[in-house]
Every structure is written in C-alpha cells, then in structure tokens.
C-alpha cells in the first residue's frame, strides 16, 4: 500500500479527490430519489383532491372517467362554496377560534414557562413536570368532564367554547417547549438585565422573547395546528351550522345522508388547507433562520 501511494502523492491525492466528488454525486442522486418518492407519496392525495374539486358533479359520478384527469375543468365548486351556504361563516369561525387560541396559548405559556424556568419558587420543578404530564392525558379522557364544564357555563353549541377548550390542549405542550428554550438562555443574561435595571416583565419582553423567538414560533405553529385541525371537540360540542368551524362544517353541511358532494368537499378542504400553508411558509423561514442563528449564540 505504502509503495503505491508514497512515491506519487499528488496523483494519489487527485484520485482521492475524484472519488470524493463521485461519492458526493451518488449521495445527491440517492437523496433526490428518496425525496422524489417522498413527494409522490405525500402529494398524491392533495393532487387527487385538486382534480376532483375541478370536476362537475356529473363528471365525478361518471365511472368511465379517469379519476386523475379532469375532462372539462370548472371552478363551479369553489364559486358555489364561496357564494352559497355557510362555508365563509365556517371559515370565519375557524379564524376567530384559532387566532384566539394562539393568542391565549402564547400569553399563558410564555409567562408560565418564564416563571417555571427562571423564578425558583417552592414546587416549581414539580410544577414543570406536572405541566408535561397533563399533556400526556389523552384528549378523549377529558371529554366528559369538559362537556359538563361547557354545559354549566352555558357554552354548549357556542363557538367560544372552543376558545375555552383548545388552550387547555395547547398550553401544556407550548409551555413545555418554551421551558426548554428559556432554560437554554444563559443565566448571566438575566443577571446582566437585572443589573441594567430590568424588571421581570421587561426581562421577559425585551430579552427572553426575542432570544427564544424560534421556540416561541415553534409553539405558535403547534397551537395553530392543533386549533385549526381540531375535530373531536367541535363535532361533539357544536351542532348548529353557524357556530361550526371548518373541519366539522364541511362534513356536516356537504354530506346530506348518503349524498356526498365530493367536488365541494374537496374544494372546501383545499381552501381550508391554505392558511396553514401560508403560516408555515412564512414562519418556517423565520424559524429556521432563528434556529441556525441561535446555534452560535453570542
């Protein structure tokens, strides 16, 4: 081995260099193949939805047609959804519920996480663990007690019941995420702020929230997703169409007995998926930029 490499080091180095390049190319090809499989697998259902939403009811019912191709595309389904029925009301309700849920969750869990991560008080460690344990309780177990509480508050079949319930699902986990982020902020940073003259609220607002922004955005995305996609509580607690959110509104309004208005269902579901897409696209950039910036904290 030594005899072949030692006398001609430049050539050997070149060969090694070449093979490194080749290895890298194969790695890239492998990565693209894996990603392609991934994309096909996950994009097929939305694609099917899109195709179906562009068909007329007649075309959908026509069994001789190809389900993947649209014969005569029409925006009828979208138009009808936006002009007739309660779709826009459902959309508005979803927005109200989600915005409120995200706001409430963020306010509560940021302050809770700050207190649990930084203000050492009697039982704070136990409380922090407790917060996480509550998250482990299955949603369905809380169902019946929640039903009673909502009933007693007179909020049955009222969209504001969701604003009350969803934070109970999101706050524990959001708090947990943020405790982790806050705990990773060096203690000297608070002490410097304390000496600089900051009170606890100023410290939270001016130091902790900006520094832990990636964590806060992660928690926000989580709260948004939970609230926007929730199904069980809305379908159990909301019965009249004007109080419904999108998830239940679509299935209850567009399915009458055994008549499925497939075109509209798909169109409604696609439009309902738009806000999460936008939120992810917007926050993710931020989120990832924040993550990498935080890696070499100054």
């Amino acid at each position: 081995m030594g005899t072949t490499t030692l006398p001609a080091p430049p050539a050997a180095a070149e060969a090694r260099h070449g093979s490194l390049k080749r290895e890298r190319r194969w790695a890239m090809i492998g990565a693209y193949i894996a990603l392609a499989v991934f994309v096909v697998f996950f994009m097929t259902p939305p694609f099917h939805m899109l195709m179906t939403s562009l068909k007329s009811s007649a075309e959908i019912a026509d069994l001789s047609g190809n389900p993947w191709i649209v014969g005569s595309p029409t925006l009828m389904n979208y138009w009808e959804l936006l002009t007739e029925g309660n779709y826009l009301i459902h959309f508005r309700n979803s927005v109200i519920v989600t915005v409120c849920t995200v706001l409430i969750s963020m306010v509560i869990s940021t302050m809770a996480a700050f207190a649990l991560a930084r203000m050492k008080f009697w039982g704070s460690a136990t409380l922090a663990t407790g917060v996480f344990l509550t998250y482990l309780v299955p949603e369905t177990l809380l169902f019946i007690p929640m039903f009673q509480i909502v009933g007693q508050l007179g909020l049955y079949n009222n969209l504001w019941a969701m604003v009350l319930i969803f934070p109970t699902l999101t706050v524990p986990f959001c708090t947990w995420i943020m405790i982790g982020y806050f705990a990773s902020i060096p203690k000297e940073l608070d002490e410097a702020a304390l000496i600089d003259g900051a009170g606890h609220l100023q410290m939270l607002w001016k130091i902790f929230i900006p520094v832990a922004l990636p964590g806060i955005l992660a928690a926000m995305i989580f709260a948004f997703t939970v609230s926007w996609a929730a199904f069980i509580y809305p379908i159990a607690f909301l019965v009249s169409s004007d109080q419904m959110v999108l998830t239940v509104g679509i299935v209850s309004d567009l399915i009458r007995a055994d008549t499925f208005q497939w075109g509209k269902i798909m169109a409604g579901a696609l439009m309902a998926a738009l806000p999460p897409l936008l939120v992810y696209a917007f926050l993710m950039d931020y989120y990832i930029a924040g993550l990498t910036a935080g890696a070499t904290k100054g």
Binding site: E188, E191, I195, D196, G197, V211
Partner: protein, 366 residues
C-alpha cells in the same frame, strides 16, 4: 463613585455550604481591588453578593456609605462584566450598551453621547451596528466593558472577564482594563484565579481561601511579606519552596539547618525577629528566584549550597532547576549560562534576605 465596605459577610447556600465565612473588607474610592484565590474559594459568591445577585446570609455590605443588603441590583448603581460576556444576542453593540440607559429613561442624545464616548475609549466605534455573534472574543469583551462604562456606575464588578480569551489576547485586554480604569477611575472589584492578573492589575490584592480572606495588601507587599503559607505559595510563579528544617542558635548567630546537613546563616537584621524561636522546627520558605546559580557569594546575606538537579527546564531568559531535598520538591531559577545538568551537582546561592520562616503546624509566617 464610592467606597465599598463588607462587614462580617456570610453566605450559606441551601444545603449548608458556607461559601463565604464572615469576611471584612474595605475598598476605597477609585481603588482597583482584585479578589484572587483557588477555584471554589468564594470569590464569585462575594462579588455576586456585592452586586445583589446573591442574598447575604449574614453581615452587612455598604456601597458609598449606604447599606445595600436589601437593595435590588438595579438600585445599587453597579455594573458587572461576566466571564461569558452575557451580551444580549439579539441586540446590536449599540443597543447592548444603551439598554441600561434606555431602561433608566435617559434621553436619546445623552445615550448616544455616552455610547460614543465609551466606544471611543474602547475603540469599538466601527462595531456599533453589529450583533454580538459577528464579533471576536476580544471585541465582545470590549462591548461588555462598554456596557459597564456607559452606565457610569459607582462600582465596576468583573468576574473572571478574561478567562475565555486566549493567552495573548488576555495579556492585551489586561492592559486595556488597566487603561480604562486609569481613564474613568471608577472603584473596581475584579475576581480572578490568575495571580499574575491579580498582581498586575490591583492596587490591592485580596487573597481568599476556603471562604475566608487570607491577606489583603498591595501586590508587592503580598509578594515580599506574605502572612500565611497559603499566600506565600499562591502569590508568585513558580511557587515558593517550603523546606522543613530547624532554627538553631550557633556561634552567636541564628542558622537554618536543612536536611542534607545544609546550614544557612540567618541575616543579622533578622536575628531580633527570630531570636525567640531558636531550637524550633520550622518551614524554611524561599522563592525560586532567590535560589540561583552561585553568584554574589561575597555579599553578607547570600549563602552557598549545592544541589543536584533532577530536571532542568530552559525557559529562554532563565532555566528552572528542580531537585529534591528530603522529599520536598524544590525549584530554583538559574541563569541559562549556568552549568545546570540533571544528575550533576550544581553550586547554588541562596538569597537569605528574602527568606521566610513558617510555623509547620499553623502555616503562619513567623
């Protein structure tokens, strides 16, 4: 600006650890005081109590004549520089320095004036728009100092501000800190475990050990007149040698009798001081720099001895020789030209005017 006083200050952490065991210390206005000691001796704890970041278990701390035991950090009018700088990562250098002033509702023009002034002193003017992550270690250190300077507080507190820097930068920033202090003259308390830093920076050095103060004094005094074995061994590098021996009264003069039948005469001017101790077991203390190759032997206070080095370490301007004397490791500093070779007897000179005698039991310097 102000003086700082500690009266019987105690810090007991939960779990019973007494980190600071009742220390008294007076720091004058404009003074630069360095707390130095080995790891875990309570330096940081003391500093943090002065800053108000740790509660005081017992005793009293006053800043500028006002007892501050129950005053929160922000109202103590102090500024602190941390080991890891603790710059706010999301703020620019300007905002980092301005933060304390903004919280105190200074007006914009005044903030700008002060930040610019500090930036000029520290030569960080071109960095004001950068975020901390775009700065080098030395630059971050300057910003951290800038943040302290702009506040124009009564007292600066430094907790090992240089220990995250590489050796060369550390020396440079050390000079920098001294310059800044000469410019702004703010009372400064500086914590380090590096005795060279302590000696070079301090007006007075406070040597701590195990939660108590061993000795307080100007660097030269600690070097020449240490009061305890700990201080004698801690200040100076390489450390002072301690050789067990006996003080004898022979032929009208005092002599130190060391193992290996080495007999060294005590200088006449010390006779009065040691006379009562004749016949006692003592620890003979001598710094390596006073244990040299044979030279100046004609002077009255220089005694001759011979040692056989086990190891020699050429340092360039000098050579360290290590030898054993009855089990004790001894180090001497000889001229690089001296014929020092491992295993070969080397004639040496002991500068007895710089000797110390210590009580082997209590460790006190006699």
């Amino acid at each position: 600006m102000a003086q700082v006083a500690l009266r019987k200050v105690v810090k007991a952490y939960e779990g019973g650890v007494q980190a600071v065991k009742g220390i008294d210390l007076d720091i004058a206005d404009h003074e630069f005081v360095v707390l130095v000691g080995p790891s875990g001796c309570g330096k940081s704890t003391t500093l943090r109590m002065i800053a108000g970041l740790e509660e005081i278990s017992d005793g009293e701390i006053s800043i500028g004549g006002r007892v501050v035991n129950d005053v929160p950090p922000r109202d103590r009018d102090i500024a602190m520089v941390f080991q890891n700088y603790a710059l706010y990562p999301h703020m620019t250098v300007f905002d980092n320095m301005a933060f304390g002033l903004m919280l105190r509702k200074f007006d914009k023009a005044e903030i700008k004036r002060r930040v610019d002034n500090a930036a000029r002193i520290l030569e960080i003017g071109p960095l004001l728009d950068r975020k901390p992550k775009a700065l080098s270690g030395g630059q971050r250190q300057r910003v951290a100092m800038g943040r302290a300077i702009v506040r124009d507080p009564k007292v600066f507190l430094f907790d090992e501000p240089l220990s995250n820097l590489d050796a060369k930068l550390r020396v440079q920033m050390r000079t920098e800190i001294k310059k800044v202090h000469q410019t702004v003259r703010t009372t400064t308390i500086y914590v380090t475990h590096d005795q060279v830093e302590a000696m070079t920076l301090a007006d007075r050095v406070v040597v701590m050990n195990g939660g108590i103060i061993e000795q307080v004094g100007p660097p030269q005094e600690l070097y020449h007149n240490p009061k305890t074995r700990f201080v004698a061994g801690f200040i100076g590098s390489p450390a002072m040698n301690f050789i067990p021996g006996r003080l004898e009264n022979g032929a009208g003069a005092l002599r130190v009798h060391l193992p290996g039948d080495i007999v060294l005469p005590v200088p006449a001017e010390r006779t009065e001081r040691y006379k009562a101790l004749a016949g006692r077991e003592v620890l003979f203390g001598i710094r390596p720099e006073h244990l040299t190759e044979a030279k100046n032997l004609d002077r009255p206070h220089v005694a001759a001895m011979t040692a056989t080095p086990e190891v020699t370490e050429p340092m360039g301007m000098e050579t360290l020789v290590h030898f054993k004397m009855n089990g004790a490791e001894i180090c001497g500093r000889v001229d690089p030209g001296a014929p020092a070779q491992p295993g070969h007897p080397l004639p040496m000179a002991v500068d007895m005017s710089n000797m110390h005698l210590l009580d082997p039991q209590t460790g006190r310097v006699l």
